[in-house]
Symmetry: C2
Subunit: 200 residues, 2 copies
Amino acid sequence: MAIDEKAFSSLTSILNQFTVMPDNQISALRTLVSKASYKKHEYFTKVGDEQTHIGFVLDGLFRLFYVDLKGKEYTKNFMMQHHFVAPYNSVLSGKQSNLYIQALKDSEVLLINYAEGLKLADSHSCWQILLRKITESAYLQKEKRESDLLFYDAQTRYTNFINEFPDLRRHIKQQHLATFLGMSPETLSRIKKSKIDKSQ
Amino acid sequence: MAIDEKAFSSLTSILNQFTVMPDNQISALRTLVSKASYKKHEYFTKVGDEQTHIGFVLDGLFRLFYVDLKGKEYTKNFMMQHHFVAPYNSVLSGKQSNLYIQALKDSEVLLINYAEGLKLADSHSCWQILLRKITESAYLQKEKRESDLLFYDAQTRYTNFINEFPDLRRHIKQQHLATFLGMSPETLSRIKKSKIDKSQ
């Protein structure tokens, strides 16, 4: 699908927040980018896929989740507008994806071929700086998530989530939110009920 | 403290596993590296420090931990020989460290000044590639830890830890291991007792 100026500039404005990118490099990137649409419930990635593209969410919402041997789902993350979406383990290592990524509503994504992107990255050090800074940012987010899971009790994790993402919960099923927050659906239900009771 | 050839080459051999580094860049790095010793229980970093150096563990073991307002400790990680040790949040963002890093036994570390390292990194793209790959590796470890915390029950997390780090447990207090594995000391104690009972 052809990409329009607005879609591409929403990507480049995010990149420029990490490091200032020369115009000729941005033009070179444009040749590697395509656009794709995902209907609600459609998969961006399935377990076993050898993922070759990183997505940039123009509009929409995705859920990243694992499934255990008994079929139980564990939500790893939600990726929303203007965030990158990919099974990084698969993209970085070349291994098959060990997780699913599914659209929670109709979504539009810019797709960047990672191998082609790495070739471009070899041509100018700005790309290495950019990739390093994006990875550092992702690392710090993961570190925060780790400390949240260790540090906070279930009640606090739920409150923090609602404060940070007030618009997200109407798109997210309760059992998906529960596993994302590292608690059982029963615990989440009890916490929500107690908050309602307190506010009455 | 002066650094000897053996100590420096144990660092460079790890760096070369990520990407092949030109000799002149390795020589430039050497001027930024110093050596430091930490006695058992001594701190590499305390909460509130503005950490300027990344450590590379030549020998020894460190524990990274948070402390909550009630004084309860949450173990974030253990860093052993030939691994990097730092409060990355502080080093990358320039903010004060929000965690403690303490030697669990007498340890020796190479110290790399991060700001000086970044200046060197501007001079040759090999450093940007190296930093990106190190950060990617750290990211994938964090992603694995996240999925372990979400995915596995307490029993499995303990078994995985013992299989992965059989030599580590004799240096680690039980309450530190419990918080690292995201469980209460009572749960860890129950799991260990049940394993002993089963093996008899």
